[in-house]
Assembly symmetry: C2
Homo-oligomer: 387 residues x 2
C-alpha cells in the first residue's frame, strides 16, 4: 500500500427534505450568491425549495453556468461576486455548476489571470477561496464532496482541471428526490461517469493485495452500479435506487476509495480532449475510451483485469486472455445497456481527431496513467481501437 494523506472535511446532509435545513447550515450573516446552470431546477421544484429555505436571507443569484463550465461565463460571475462582496457561494446543480463555483470561489481572490490555475495547478493549491456549499441535483462527478474542478475555455479548445485545499464544499445537501425528473440521458451519463471514476482508481497495474480493502470498496461501488442501473433507467425510479445511486456517485470520487492506491486517470485525460474538440458529454467520452484502454493496456493491468472480471462480473471460466476479453466486453456491454454509444465512429469521429489528440499529448509531453505508462503512442493505439 502506498503512503497517503487523507482528509475530507465536507459535511454530507443526505435524504428527503434536507434542503429545508439550508438556513441553519449557512452562517446567518452571510452574503450569499446562488450559482445555477440551465433551467432544470425551475421545473423540478428545487429552485423554489432553495428560495423558500433562504427566506429573509441576503442573497443574489447567478444563472447560466453551462455543461463543461466556460471560463468566460465564470469570469462574469467573479466580477459580480466581487462587486457585491459575496462571502458565501451556494452551488445548486450538478458537477458543472459545482466545478464552476469552485473556480469562482478561488478566482475572486486571485490577483493575476485565474486561467493560471488551469495551466499550473500549484498556483491553486493553497489559494484563498470564498466558502462554498452545494445542493446536488445530478449525481455524477463527485464534485459535491471533493476539491477538484474542471473548467473549459472554448476559445482555446481547452478543458483542464485544478484542485485546491480550500475548495471542499463546507456542506453538500443530497436529496435523492431531486433526481426523479432527470432526463434518462443524464442518469446514464452519471452512471458511466461514476463507473469510470471508480475504475480509474482501481484498474491499475498495482499488484493484487497492495490495497486490498480499497479494491473491495471500489468493487462494491461497481457492483452497486450494475445492480441499480436497471432500476434507474426505468420510467419511475424508486427512492432507494435514487438514494443508492446518489451515495455511490459521491463515494466514487471523494478520496475514499483512493486511499493508498495507484491511480490511472488516462481515460479522463483522453476523454477531456474529445469533449474539447467535439463537445461530447463527459460520460460518453469515458464509455468510448475505457474499454479500448483496457484492451491496449492488458499486459500492464493483467492481474487487476482478471480480479475485476471475477469479482465484478463473475467471470471465472476460460484462459486468462479469454477472461480479460470477457471483462472488457462486459464493461462495454454495460455502458451500451445504458444507451450510451461506445465507438468514435458512432459520433462521426475519425482518424483526424485521433491524430490531433496524439499531437496534443506529444506537444505537451504528457505521459498519463499510473506512473506515466500511457505514452502518446499508446493514446493513439487506444483511440484507434475505439474507432
Amino acid at each position: 500500500m502506498n503512503n497517503f494523506v487523507f482528509t475530507n472535511p465536507t459535511k454530507l446532509v443526505f435524504g428527503k427534505g434536507q434542503i429545508a435545513r439550508l438556513a441553519k447550515l449557512i452562517p446567518s450573516d452571510a452574503k450569499i450568491m446562488i450559482t445555477i446552470g440551465g433551467g432544470s431546477i425551475f421545473n423540478n421544484g428545487i429552485y423554489n425549495q432553495v428560495v423558500d429555505a433562504l427566506k429573509g436571507r441576503d442573497w443574489v443569484e447567478f444563472r447560466g453556468i453551462e455543461p463543461n463550465p466556460e471560463f468566460e461565463t465564470l469570469m462574469k460571475a467573479v466580477e459580480e461576486a466581487k462587486e457585491k462582496e459575496i462571502d458565501f457561494l451556494l452551488a445548486v446543480g450538478g458537477g458543472s455548476v459545482i466545478d464552476g463555483t469552485k473556480f469562482i470561489a478561488t478566482a475572486m481572490h486571485y490577483e493575476g489571470d485565474p486561467w493560471d490555475f488551469l495551466l499550473d495547478e500549484r498556483k491553486a493549491a493553497n489559494a484563498k477561496a470564498t466558502t462554498l456549499a452545494t445542493v446536488l441535483t445530478l449525481p455524477a462527478t463527485g464534485s459535491e464532496m471533493n476539491n477538484g474542478s474542471v473548467i473549459s475555455r472554448r476559445a482555446y479548445g481547452e478543458k483542464r482541471a485544478f484542485h485546491s485545499a480550500n475548495t471542499f464544499p463546507l456542506f453538500s445537501i443530497l436529496d435523492p428526490e431531486a433526481i426523479y425528473s432527470l432526463p434518462k440521458r443524464q442518469i446514464a451519463n452519471g452512471i458511466v461517469d461514476t463507473f469510470a471514476h471508480t475504475l480509474e482508481q482501481y484498474l491499475t497495474d498495482g499488484t493484487e493485495g497492495s490495497a486490498m480493502v480499497m479494491d473491495r470498496w471500489a468493487e462494491g461501488l461497481l457492483q452497486t452500479l450494475i445492480d441499480i442501473a436497471p432500476k434507474l433507467t426505468v420510467e419511475r425510479m424508486s427512492y432507494d435506487a435514487a438514494a443508492n445511486f446518489m451515495l455511490t456517485a459521491t463515494m466514487g470520487l471523494n478520496g475514499f476509495v483512493a486511499m493508498g492506491v495507484e491511480q490511472d486517470w488516462a481515460t479522463h485525460m483522453i476523454g477531456h480532449e474529445l469533449t474539447a474538440l467535439h463537445s461530447l458529454d463527459h460520460g460518453i467520452t469515458l464509455a468510448i475510451v475505457h474499454p479500448a484502454l483496457m484492451d491496449v493496456m492488458r499486459e500492464e493491468k493483467r492481474a487487476k483485469l482478471l480480479q475485476y472480471g471475477e469479482r465484478v462480473f463473475g467471470i471465472k471460466e476460460g484462459s486468462e486472455e479469454q477472461r480479460i476479453d470477457k471483462a472488457i466486453q462486459a464493461t462495454e456491454m454495460f455502458y451500451r445497456s445504458l444507451g450510451v454509444k461506445t465507438r468514435l465512429s458512432e459520433h462521426s469521429i475519425g482518424e483526424s481527431t485521433v491524430n490531433e489528440i496524439v499531437k496534443r499529448f506529444t506537444d505537451r509531453g504528457w505521459r498519463v496513467g499510473e506512473r506515466g505508462i500511457v505514452t502518446p503512442e499508446k493514446v493513439g493505439e487506444i483511440l484507434r481501437k475505439a474507432l
Copy 2:
C-alpha cells in the same frame, strides 16, 4: 436508505515513516501533553520516534492509561493538564489511550463532575474540548478517526460511552510498522473488534437494498479481514498485511459504512457488561456474544444473515435455516481460528453473571439493537446461548 448527516474532519496520515511529520502537524506554539498507556511503545521504538519528532517543542507526558481506561486515572491527567495549561493532547497508543484522551480533552473544560458525560451523553455532545491528535499503535477500535470514547469506572463496575462533536482527532498517524511487534493476542482481539464493529453496522433487520452500497462496503471490510487474518497471526507479518489491517480497522468505525444504515450495537452493550464484571478483553466479549446474538435474532435478521452468508462466506447451498446456521458457525469458527474463545464457560462465567446482566438491562430500562428489538429478555437468551 435512512436520512443521515456525515462528517469526519480527521486527517489520516498513513504509512511508513510518518511519525517524523509530527512537528509539522502540531501548531508550533502548542503546549503538548503526550498521553501513554503501558510499556509497549518503549520497547518497539515508537516512543523514541515521537520524542525525536518533538525535539525542541514544549511537551510533558502522562503515563499509565490502562486498557479499558479508568476514570480515576484520567482525572489525575485532567488535573495535571489544567495545572500545566496544556492546549494540545497527543495520544500515543491504542483505543484505550485515545478514548481516555478524548475524556481528558473534554473533562478539562467541564465545570461539573465529568462522569456526567457517561451518564448522559447530551452533556458531552457539544462540550468544549482541547485539540487532540493520535499516533496509533494498535488497530482495533477506530477511535483514531471517530469522536467516540468508552470509559470504565471500576469502583462502580461500570463501562460506558460518550460522543462529542469536538473529540474527533485533528489528525491520526497510522504507521503499519508500529504493529509488527504487537502480541498475537492483541492482533487477534483487534481483528475480532473490527469484524464485530462492522457487523454491528451491517447485520440488522433492514431490508436488503436499503443501503446497498454500504452493505457492499461492510462486506468488503469483512472479506478483507478474513483474507488477511492468516497473514497477521504468523510469526512475521508483511507490510501490506499490516497496512490493510490498520486501514480496515479505521474504516470499520469512522462513520463511513454507517451512512444511511440501521445499526445494532447490542453485542457491544452486552459485551461492555461482561468486561465491567469480569475484566474480559473487549474483543473477547464480542466473539462470545455475536454468534449467540445472530442465533437468537435469526428471525428479525433473516434476510441480512442470508446475504452475509452468501457474500462473505460463499454459503449458497441448503435451506434458509441451514444457510443461517452455517453463517453463524462460520463466524464463530473465524473467531476461534484467531485463538479467541467464544463461550462464557471457557472463561468460567455462568448463570449468575447472566442474571446480573439481565437485571442491569431491566433496571436501566435498556432495549438495545436496531430500534430496541433486543429486550432484556432477549439479552438473557443470548447470554444463555453463549454459555
